[in-house]
Structure formats: structure tokens, C-alpha cells
């Protein structure tokens, strides 16, 4: 590529020279460069930070004067920019120059422009206001005939560009993909990559063009497109399986050295490109045997070629190993990859060792036996002087932890933790220890002690889930009640001993945990009475180093203990002292305690012993406050405004720059109800149906900053969504493990026979304790004795199993007739929303496929016409959609007209809903299948209609729908049809529902009209935070607003609420219930669309759809 860059640009200096009027007077040039020079020299010569600051402030003020002086020429400005960049790089604010950088990019000649662009890309960030001023310049330069200007504009776009302005440049950049110069094409691809990163919805229509870029004849363009593909495949690998062949071919060529020599780095061909491709392959081949098989050869080749002893080949090898272990396994490759890892781990070079450990950490999840081979190296690394190596080793050990080695590993982790001071490391490691302790604790004492260590070291930096989970664990208990009690008792005892120690400071979180446990479970103690515990808590309460938050925990604990203590002086003293506390919260608690203390009976019923897990009924609507609210409102109090509404108002007051034309505000069109004195009527509404609105209000109450501890289900730590991800048990051939065990045993025997240094022996001992679970025990596990036994602290039923996200996203439909002789395998995958325009698209895909790949699709193409055994890929409902039709050989002609009339007769039944036209899925002489979509209120109804055109009976036809992720597919009654008469039509109905709201790749099939009034619209509008605006040019046929809106209503199923003059209000919702509002306004032939929604991606998507509809019609 560099070769071509060179070729492209060697022609350019001539241009520069023309634009440079002779280089300018030499004296001026010298003075410019010397100013930067003296600045650099000055700074280098300085010794203290203080002096530097003085010098730079001086420099900045002189620069400020220069840039704002009207006499400053662009040339001087360019020089100033360079100095400004330097100052800002050193950390001094140079924001006064930003606007001048933009100006320079606008006005300068080539060279000045370039410096201007560079300064802009260094100074500004994506959401900077000034960036909008750059858009015009970029548009102008993109249209320039000067290649260098186009290049610069593309470069800056690929670095930094405002998201909202993408539509302004997108068509220009798309054009550049066809440019004759490689460098322009390459930069255009990179600019599109940037757009894909910041606004994927806006570039989804050019995916086809990316494919073209991938098979560009220039390597640079191809390489650039890989970035987009890596990204897209990461998001959705199933959509790009058909490209596997292309990637493999490219990698083969790269590995085989077919690229220009310029791409070699130390005689390794394009190493970074190889790494990129390996990554893509790894993602594609994951859990997919068929795709993986395509890449075995090239991976083998890569492993073989990368024998050269150079760092960069190790980088490639590392990536290879990663890929080999990511894709569907092949034993030969795994063996080779394992050998590579060995080479890394045993290398004396420290960087390679690191890489080896990292690879091993990854691999060990698939194949824990590998750890056994390298156990001695791992032990060495554990005591390595380099803390980074140590950390990486711990990470590795974390992955192989089991019930047998947990104590040793956790001990090692704690050792490291005590030495470490970096907060990030502590947080990370503490979380891991807590997780391991919870999963594999061998006994109560160890568990509590480990958690004590975690709390005292992790202190207040650790993740709040850790103490919450711990408490929940204690409270909910396990299957065995006596065991639970013992654990709790042990915890209480250990905390009491800890509190007895003098002059020890515990982190606040730890104290909070202690106070909760003591408050709940002190009753288990035999020796100490509750009064004694209270005394200890009291001592803590009086301690000044305890934060007020912790003190409220302590008081809560005392309150819980008070009923058990009967009469206690300490409690009274405490009440006495804290009822006059200056802290309102404390005072509140003290008063509560005081009143409860006076009424012991109430107290015991309120605070029963060991009931922390029982459900409390919570009146979420706060209906008992209705009277109070009504009274307040009748006395003229302002009605409650939800948090977001207040925020909105605040924001609207604060807005600095208004980018909108003033006409677009809503004040004219009757949404004033919110601020008007009509508030009272609104208030009565609230108290009228308090159950509903009250609930709504509590939902919208922002509980920020308030620790939510109690709720409907009692104590409320975050529900853990972790499932047992530790089950690394993979189907490993049993013999190999036995072998390994044997090996280790014999190794140990040998080593014991040999006289060894003491140190060695220690290491061996450590090794045997670390790797114990991986040998013999794991065989037991694999034999079927589930890993679960080792889970000491297994949660009771309350864990919510994470939904099996990996549910196969295939959606197969099988229709089979009785006598099948020849098969038609009709494989289709089409996205729901593209059902309409599949015809032409599919053709495109085909022509491309055949261009790109030498694989099956090419051979399949002619067969489509023959229809005897075809499989073609078209866009479809769910990822992989395969339909097989077995049809009888007899071909009896049936009139197509009849079939369609039958179909329409069916549709009549459902005419109250909007429905799509019938789409023919497949058709031949005997059978024809077509499908419709019916947009019902609550779901999408897919209707597959099967017509038997033959004169014979169709004896059994099945429609099988496989579940797809995020969707629930329900069969409608009357769908099975055992027998199908000759020349008749039957239909299958399936309702498709979105199971949980998701917004990636929103499907238009799930957009429904939202029927609300204009007033509701106004209220909702203000409550939504995500908005998107866009102007769309209307075609002449629908220049009037009503007709444009009509189109939107028909095509996208938006609900028209009201049309006022040249403004229109529409609303829709994404099933099950994500609303989106649209405000339209017409100026001449431009339609200004303004979307708002509670969901951030929905407006983007709808905008794209609306654009398509309006511009398309």
C-alpha cells in the first residue's frame, strides 16, 4: 500500500509548490520557526514546574494577542497554531485558539489548511460545540478537485465528526468509495468506519459497499475495510458467515507472501493485517463447526510460517493460538497451539513469558490439563520479581480454582493484595477473592476469615455488591439450616473478637457489615447477652472516626437488639445522646428507637428475630399519603414534578447555544398545561386514581444517593445474575486426563526419589496443592459427579438463571409431504423489515457472493432456477431460516389465481389489522408457500399459507419454528394439519412477540401506532431525553404535509395525532411499550422531523425509516 501512497502523492508536491508562493521571504520563515524553537528550547532548559508555568502563560498571552489581532496573516496564524498545540500538549488551556484553528482550516491554503485541520483534531472532541462550524469546510473540501484537500477532509472526518451532521457528508463520502485513487478510497472507508462506530444506524444501508471495499484491488483499502468487518462481526457474527471464505483466501495470500514487499516488517508479511484477519476468523468460527472447517488449513499454515524468531511473529502466534482455541476445536491444531504456548511460557524473554501466561489463561478455560504441563513455570512466575507477571499468574490461577486448591490460591491472592497499593488492582482482586470464597469455601471458619480479610483490605473501594452479596448469603442461608446457624454464629463471634481489639480501624463498609450481622444474629450467642453486644456497638457509636452512614447502621443494629435485651441502660443513654444529635438522620433513628423502646410489645412485633428474609408488603403507591397530597394541593401547593421533568426545565434554562431555528418551539401549540394554573386539576387527577398514578410516580422517583436496602422481598441487595460460569468442565477425552494424572504422579515420585534442594521441594509441594483439583478430582467431575458438590455456598433457589442467551437463533420450517422423492431445500434468511425489498437485494448479494467467494454459493446459483435442490441465502426473519419442502413428483397444474383468491379470503378475516401483501416464499407445480405479516396490537402475526396445488392429498405437513433470541414465538390454535386436501390452502399462524425490550436492530414489524391525545403528547414530549432532528427533502408528489404524514402512517404505522397548520404530531411505540414521538414541520419542500423517545436508539432507527419512506416515494 505504501507503494501506492507514494505513487499517488509523489505527484502532489508539485501542487504544493505552486500553492506556495516561492516559500515566502526567508527571514520571516526563520523567525517563525525560531519562535517555536525558542519555546521548545526555553522549556527544555527550565528546571522547575513553576518556571515552566510562568513561561507558558507568558507565551499564551502573547499568542492570544497575536491570534486575535486583525493584522495576523494566515501564515502567522499557522505558526501560532503549532505553538498552541505545543502548549496544550503540555497541559495548558489554549481554548481561545480553537475558533482560530477552525478558521484556518476554512480559509488557509493547502498547508495552512492542513495545520488547521490537525489543530482541530487535537483540540476538539466529538461533542464540542465548535465542531459544527467545521462541517461546512469539510463538505466544501470533499467536493474539491484537489486530491490533497479531499484527503485532508476525509482524514479529519475519520478522526472527529459530530454525530448529528453525518447525513450532510454521507453521500459525498459514499461517492468517494468509487474514486480512482486508492488513498481516497481507503480514507473514505475509514471515515465510514468512524460513522459506523458513532452511529451504526446511519450507515446500515451501505453494507453492500463495504463488501466491495473488501475485494478492492488495493490492499490498503481492503485492510481498512477489515476494521469495519471486525466490528460488525463482533456485534453479529452470524450475518457474515458467508464471507469466511474471503477472509480465509485473503489470509492465505498474506501468509503466502503475495503482498507487495512494502508490507513486510522485518521480512514478516503484513503482520498486523494477519492479526486482524485471525481475530475475524476467531469470531466467525466460534461454536460453528462448518465455518471452522474452512479455516483449519490456513490456521495450520499460519502456525507453520510463523517460525521465525522475531517478536512480531510471536504476536501473530499468540493471535493464532487465541483463534485456534476460539473456534470449533480440531485436535491437531490444538496440539500445535499448545506447543506454541509452551514455547512462550518457557522463554527466558520476559515479554514472551507474559504473553504465554496470557495465552494460557485464555486456553485453560477450554483445557485445564494444560496447566498441569506448565505447573512448575506457573509456580516460578508466582514468585516472580515483576508484579505484572505475578498478577497475570494470579489471573490464571483464578481460572483454575476449584474446591481443593481454593485455600492456597486465595492465600496467594491475599498476599499480593497486601503488597499492592493501587486502587484498581485492589478492587479487581478483592472481587475475585470474594467470588472464589463464596463458590468454593471449604468450611465456615475459612469463609468468614477470608471475607474478613476482603472487607478489611478492600475497605471502601470495593464493589458494593460484595458486602451486599455476603449479607444476602448469610440471611438466605443454604439448604441446611443447622449449617446456616453455625455460619452465622461463627460470623458473630469473629466480629465480636475483632471489635474487642483496641486501636484497630476497620473500613466503614466492614463496620456496616458487622453491625448488620450483630443486629440480626446476636441472639445465637449463648455467652454474651444482647446487652453486652449493645455496649460494644455503643462504644463504636461514640467513636469519632466512624462515619455518620455507618452510625445509622449501628443504631439500626441496636434497635434490633433492644427487644432482646429487655432493659438496658446503654440504650437509654444512647437515646438520650442521639435525640439531640445535630445529624438529622441520627436524630430520626434515635427518636424511632425511643418511641419503640417505650412500647416493647410493638417493638417485638415490628422487629422479630431472624426474619430478615421474609417478604414485607410495601404500598408502592404510597396511597396512605393521598389525603396529605390532596390537602397540600388544595392549599395551593405546586403539583409534584418528576425528576426528569425538573431536569428538563433546568436544562432548557441553562442551554447555552440554541442550534434550532426559533420557530420550532412548542409554545404555540397548546402544551402549556404543564406550567399553567391548571396544575390543580392535574393534582386532583393524581389523587383521583392514586393507585395508578401513585405507582407511576414512585417509579419515577429517583432514588439516587439513597441506599435501597429494604423492599418487597425484604433485604434487597442486587440480584446476582451470575450463573455458575465456573463449570469449565469440557468434554475432554478421559484417557488424556488419566494420562496426565499418571504423568504428574510419576513425576512426583521421581522427584521425591531424587535428592532435591529444600526450595525445590517447597515448590513441588505448592504445585501439588495448587493443581490438585485439575488432576484426579476433575476426572471424577467429568465422570458425571457434578461440580456442584464442591459449591459450598450454593445459593438457594433465588438465583435467577440467566436466560439462555445462546438459544439457537435458528428458525426452521419443515413442510413435508407424504411421498417425497426429490427434495427442495430452501434456505432463506431474511430480516423481517426487509421482507418488502428482498427481490433485488438478493440478486445483489448473489452477484457479490459470486465475485467474492469461490465457495458454495457460486455453485448453488444455477440450481436456484432448476429448483430441484437449491439453497439460496436471502434476507430473512431470523438469523438462519431453513425450510425444507419435500414434494411429490406429480405435477398437476393449479391455477395461481385460485391460490391467491384463497389467500385473500383468509386475509379478510383479519382485516381489522393492517397486514402486508402476500409474499411468495416458494412455489412449484405442486405446492406453494407464501407468507404474510399481520401487525396485531400486541404482537406480530406471521402467517404461512401452504397451498396444495396437486390433485393429491398432502398427508402430513409440519411447520416447525425454532426459538430465536429475544423473540417469543407462539403457535396459534388450529395450526397443525395432518391431512391436506387436494387443491386447498391451509395456513399456519404464529405470533411473534418481543420477550424483553431490546433495541439493537429494531424491527419495523414491532412498531405500532400509539394513540394518545395532543396533551399527552406534550407531557410525554417533555419527559423524554433522547431526541434526534433531521430535515428531509420531500418529493413533489407529497409536498403537502397531510399527504406526507399519510405515507408515514401507512408505511410505518405511526399514529397521526393532530395536524396544526404546517406542523404535525405523530406517535408510535415499539412493542411491548417503548414510545416514540415525532414532531414534523414543513418549510417549502423540506420536512423537519424531530423525534423523541425514552429509548436512545429508537429515534435513530425511525429517522432512518422515515427518510427512506419519504425520500423513496
Amino acid at each position: 500500500m505504501s507503494d501506492i501512497v507514494e505513487k499517488t502523492l509523489t505527484a502532489l508536491p508539485g501542487l504544493f509548490l505552486q500553492n506556495q508562493p516561492g516559500g515566502g521571504p526567508a527571514a520571516a520563515k526563520a523567525s517563525f520557526s525560531s519562535r517555536l524553537g525558542s519555546l521548545v528550547r526555553g522549556i527544555t532548559a527550565l528546571t522547575s514546574k513553576h518556571e515552566e508555568e510562568k513561561l507558558i502563560q507568558q507565551e499564551l498571552s502573547s499568542l492570544k494577542a497575536t491570534v486575535s489581532a486583525p493584522t495576523t496573516t494566515l501564515k502567522m496564524m499557522k505558526e501560532c497554531m503549532v505553538r498552541l498545540i505545543y502548549c496544550e500538549m503540555l497541559g495548558y488551556d489554549a481554548s481561545f485558539g480553537y475558533i482560530h484553528a477552525i478558521k484556518l482550516a476554512q480559509q488557509g491554503n493547502l498547508l495552512e489548511k492542513r495545520v488547521g485541520y490537525l489543530a482541530v483534531s487535537l483540540f476538539l472532541h466529538e461533542s464540542h460545540e465548535l465542531l459544527l462550524l467545521l462541517v461546512n469546510t469539510v463538505v466544501k473540501d470533499l467536493q474539491s478537485t484537489n486530491l490533497v484537500e479531499v484527503c485532508m477532509a476525509l482524514t479529519v472526518v475519520s478522526q472527529i465528526f459530530p454525530r448529528e451532521m453525518i447525513p450532510a457528508v454521507l453521500p459525498l463520502i459514499e461517492d468517494k468509495l468509487q474514486h480512482s485513487k486508492e488513498i481516497i478510497r481507503r480514507k473514505a472507508v475509514l471515515a465510514l468506519y468512524k460513522f459506523h462506530l458513532i452511529a451504526p444506524n446511519q450507515v446500515q444501508h451501505i453494507h453492500i459497499k463495504f463488501r466491495k471495499a473488501l475485494c478492492d484491488r488495493d490492499v490498503g483499502v481492503m485492510a481498512a475495510s477489515l476494521h469495519i468487518y471486525l466490528r460488525m462481526i463482533k456485534e453479529n457474527s452470524s450475518g457474515y458467515k458467508d464471507l469466511t471464505g474471503s477472509f480465509v483466501t485473503i489470509l492465505k495470500q498474506v501468509v503466502g507472501g503475495k503482498l507487495p514487499v512494502d508490507f513486510n516488517y522485518h521480512s514478516v508479511p503484513a503482520p498486523w493485517l494477519q492479526i486482524q484477519l485471525l481475530r475475524i476468523l476467531g469470531l466467525l468460527g466460534k461454536d460453528d463447526q462448518r465455518t471452522s472447517e474452512l479455516m483449519y488449513d490456513v490456521l495450520d499454515e499460519s502456525l507453520r510460517r510463523a517460525e521465525l524468531n522475531h517478536n512480531v511473529t510471536y504476536a501473530i502466534l499468540f493471535e493464532c493460538v487465541h483463534t485456534v482455541y476460539s473456534i470449533y476445536p480440531k485436535s491437531e491444531l490444538l496440539e500445535k497451539a499448545a506447543k506454541c504456548i509452551g514455547k512462550f511460557v518457557l522463554s527466558p524473554k520476559i515479554n514472551l513469558k507474559y504473553l504465554g501466561l496470557k495465552a494460557l489463561t485464555y486456553v485453560i478455560q477450554q483445557d485445564p490439563t494444560l496447566a498441569l504441563q506448565h505447573q512448575m513455570t506457573i509456580i516460578e512466575c508466582l514468585d516472580h520479581p515483576d508484579p505484572i507477571i505475578k498478577r497475570e499468574t494470579l489471573e490464571l490461577l483464578y481460572r483454575i480454582t476449584n474446591a481443593q486448591n481454593v485455600t492456597v490460591i486465595v492465600q496467594k491472592m491475599l498476599e499480593y493484595l497486601h503488597q499492592s497499593k493501587e486502587e484498581y488492582v485492589i478492587v479487581n482482586l478483592v472481587g475475585k477473592i470474594a467470588e472464589l470464597a463464596e463458590k468454593y469455601a471449604p468450611d465456615n471458619a475459612w469463609f468468614i476469615q477470608t471475607m474478613n480479610a476482603v472487607f478489611s483490605v478492600g475497605g471502601d473501594v470495593m464493589h458494593p455488591d460484595i458486602p451486599n452479596n455476603f449479607l444476602r448469603l448469610l440471611a438466605e442461608g443454604f439448604d441446611d439450616e443447622t449449617e446456616d446457624q453455625q455460619l452465622r454464629l461463627y460470623a458473630v463471634q469473629s466480629y465480636l473478637t475483632l471489635l474487642d481489639m483496641e486501636n484497630v480501624f476497620y473500613p466503614q463498609r466492614f463496620l456496616q457489615v458487622m453491625s448488620w450481622v450483630l443486629g440480626e444474629y446476636s441472639y445465637l450467642l449463648d455467652k454474651e447477652t444482647p446487652a453486652e453486644v449493645i455496649a460494644k456497638l455503643y462504644k463504636l457509636l461514640m467513636n469519632d472516626s466512624v462515619s455518620s452512614e455507618t452510625k445509622t447502621w449501628l443504631i439500626a443494629a441496636v434497635t434490633k437488639l433492644t427487644p432482646q435485651a429487655h432493659s438496658s441502660d446503654t440504650v437509654e443513654r444512647l437515646i438520650h445522646e442521639f435525640t439531640i444529635s445535630l445529624d438529622t438522620c441520627m436524630r430520626q433513628h434515635a427518636f424511632e428507637l425511643k418511641h419503640l423502646h417505650e412500647n416493647v410489645e410493638l417493638m417485638t412485633s415490628l422487629l422479630p428475630v431472624d426474619r430478615s428474609c421474609e417478604d414485607l408488603a410495601v404500598d408502592a403507591s404510597l396511597s396512605f399519603l393521598d389525603g396529605f397530597v390532596a390537602e397540600g394541593l388544595s392549599q395551593g401547593a405546586a403539583p409534584y414534578k418528576p425528576h426528569h421533568q425538573r431536569q428538563e426545565e433546568k436544562l432548557s434554562q441553562e442551554k447555552v447555544l440554541n442550534f434550532e431555528p426559533y420557530g420550532l418551539s412548542f409554545s404555540s401549540s397548546g402544551f402549556t398545561g404543564r406550567q399553567s394554573p391548571a396544575g390543580i386539576s392535574l393534582g386532583s387527577d393524581i389523587s383521583g386514581n392514586s393507585a395508578e398514578t401513585g405507582l407511576k410516580e414512585t417509579n419515577s422517583l429517583k432514588l439516587e444517593g439513597i441506599k435501597k436496602l429494604w423492599g418487597k422481598e425484604g433485604y434487597l441487595p442486587k440480584k446476582e445474575s451470575k450463573t455458575g460460569d465456573e463449570s469449565g468442565a469440557l468434554p475432554i477425552p478421559q484417557e488424556s486426563i488419566m494420562e496426565n494424572v499418571d504423568q504428574t504422579i510419576t513425576k512426583k515420585d521421581q522427584s521425591q526419589v531424587l535428592t532435591q534442594s529444600k526450595e525445590e521441594k517447597e515448590k513441588q509441594l505448592l504445585a501439588s496443592s495448587l493443581f490438585v483439583g485439575l488432576g484426579s478430582e476433575s476426572t471424577v467431575n467429568l465422570l458425571g459427579k457434578a461440580d456442584t458438590v464442591s459449591h459450598k455456598f450454593r445459593r438457594k433457589s433465588k438465583i435467577k438463571e440467566a436466560k439462555s442467551g445462546e438459544a439457537s437463533s435458528t428458525h426452521n420450517m419443515t413442510c413435508s409431504s407424504f411421498s417425497s422423492l426429490s427434495n427442495v431445500a430452501y434456505e432463506d434468511d431474511y430480516y423481517l423489515n426487509t421482507l418488502h425489498d428482498r427481490g433485488d437485494k438478493e440478486l445483489k448479494t448473489f452477484s457479490l457472493n459470486s465475485e467474492l467467494l469461490d465457495s458454495e454459493s457460486l455453485t448453488e446459483l444455477p440450481l436456484v432456477e432448476k429448483f430441484s435442490n437449491c439453497s439460496l441465502s436471502t434476507p430473512s426473519l431470523f438469523a438462519d431460516n431453513s425450510m425444507e419442502i419435500f414434494h411429490p413428483p406429480q405435477s398437476i397444474a393449479a391455477s395461481v389465481a385460485k391460490e391467491s383468491s384463497l389467500a385473500s379470503s383468509f386475509l379478510e378475516e383479519t382485516t381489522e389489522y393492517i397486514h402486508s401483501n402476500a409474499m411468495e416464499v416458494c412455489n412449484n407445480e405442486t405446492i406453494s408457500v407464501s407468507s404474510y405479516k399481520i401487525w396485531k396490537d400486541d404482537c406480530l402475526l406471521m402467517v404461512w399459507s401452504v397451498t396444495n396445488k396437486s390433485g393429491l392429498e398432502l398427508k402430513s405437513a409440519n411447520l416447525e419454528i425454532f426459538p430465536a433470541e429475544n423473540f417469543k414465538v407462539t403457535e396459534q390454535p388450529g395450526c397443525c394439519l395432518p391431512i391436506m386436501e387436494a387443491e386447498s390452502t391451509k395456513s399456519f399462524q404464529y405470533s411473534v412477540q418481543i420477550e424483553k425490550p431490546f433495541t439493537e436492530g429494531i424491527l419495523s414489524g414491532f412498531i405500532r401506532p400509539l394513540k394518545i391525545s395532543s396533551e399527552d403528547f406534550g407531557k410525554l414530549w417533555l419527559s423524554f431525553a433522547n431526541d434526534v432532528k433531521q430535515n428531509v427533502k420531500m418529493s413533489e408528489s407529497q409536498a403537502a404535509l397531510p399527504s406526507a404524514l399519510k405515507t408515514l402512517q401507512q408505511k410505518l404505522r405511526l399514529h397521526i395525532i393532530e395536524i396544526i397548520g404546517n406542523e404535525g404530531l405523530l406517535a408510535c411505540q415499539l412493542l411491548p411499550s417503548i414510545p416514540c414521538l415525532l414532531h414534523c414541520r414543513v418549510y417549502a419542500d423540506v420536512l423537519a422531523l424531530w423525534f423523541r423517545s425514552s429509548c436512545s436508539t429508537l429515534p435513530d432507527y425511525l429517522l432512518y425509516q422515515c427518510q427512506k419512506v419519504i425520500e423513496g416515494s
Binding site: P13, L36, G37, M89, D93, L111, N351, V425
Partner: protein
């Protein structure tokens, strides 16, 4: 993904910085100080990768100049490590014996080179253009001025 790119000398003076994610200007100084501190604290026997907060630092030392690249978790450390070297090779070819002075003096050139070098910004790496002169018109106006050679270390960094 590359998060930032730094050239800092042993005294802790930043010679070149480029951030791919917006970092507040005050935080930059702090970050750079911490980064160079953690680089200086490492010996030759220790590996060239450092875990820093939630990202990794990959550094290489050339004479008194450190080149540090901050990447996120998904990056291949060794690839970046070699990438730095590749970048320096390109500079060396461009300046014929590149020195620290060149770095500070031709800041813009360096930015341009790095830009071209790592153009698919953030997400990993592009093949390096071997000859950057054609890309870098600045050279014309910032021709090396011999009078400043004494200002910073002129030891070739590579």
C-alpha cells in the same frame, strides 16, 4: 483499541501526545505524570507491559525517550510493542537518525506521521507507510535549524 499515544522523556516532559478518547486537559497532565512514573520504575528485567487502571500500557524506551501506548483489554500487547518500533523505524528513515529534539521540534510532522501510521485510529493498526515525506508537506516550512541542536538531547533515539 488504542486509547492514547505518548512520547515522554525521562524528565517527564511530554514530547508528543495524542488521545483517542477525550480526556480533560487537567487529567491529561496527571495521567502523563503517572504513566511516566510507572514506566521509569520498571527495570530491564521486567516486561514492557504495565497494567494501569482498566487499561494496559505498552512502552518502549529509546535513549531517554519513552514511547507509551495505552490500549484496552482486547489488544495484542506484542503487536503494539512491535508497532511502536515500526513507527520509530519510519521516523528514523524520515529524519535519518531521528533524535529527541526532532520529536519536540517537529511536533506537527510527528502528528501527521502517527496519524498516517495508525490511521484506523483506535481500533488497532494499519500498515505503515514506509515513506512519509510525500505525506508531510510541513517539512518545507520547518526545516531543521542547526542552532537549536543543543537544546534537547540530540542522541539518536534509535
Amino acid at each position: 483499541m488504542i486509547k492514547f499515544f505518548l512520547m515522554v522523556n525521562k524528565q517527564g516532559q511530554t514530547r508528543l501526545s495524542k488521545y483517542y478518547e477525550h480526556v480533560d486537559i487537567n487529567k491529561r497532565t496527571l495521567l502523563e505524570t503517572e504513566v511516566i512514573k510507572s514506566c521509569l520504575s520498571r527495570s530491564n528485567e521486567q516486561c514492557s507491559f504495565i497494567e494501569y487502571k482498566d487499561f494496559k500500557l505498552i512502552y518502549r524506551q529509546y535513549a531517554a525517550l519513552f514511547i507509551v501506548v495505552g490500549v484496552n483489554d482486547t489488544e495484542n500487547e506484542m503487536a503494539i510493542y512491535e508497532f511502536i518500533h515500526n513507527f520509530v523505524e519510519v521516523l528514523d528513515e524520515y529524519f535519518s537518525r531521528v533524535s529527541e529534539l526532532d520529536v519536540s521540534f517537529f511536533n506537527t510532522v510527528f502528528h501527521g506521521t502517527w496519524q498516517a501510521h495508525s490511521s484506523p485510529y483506535q481500533e488497532s493498526i494499519d500498515e505503515p507507510p514506509k515513506i512519509c515525506s510525500a505525506l508531510e508537506p510541513q517539512q518545507a516550512c520547518f526545516s531543521p535549524d542547526s542552532s537549536f541542536k543543543g537544546a534537547a538531547s540530540t542522541t539518536p533515539i534509535y
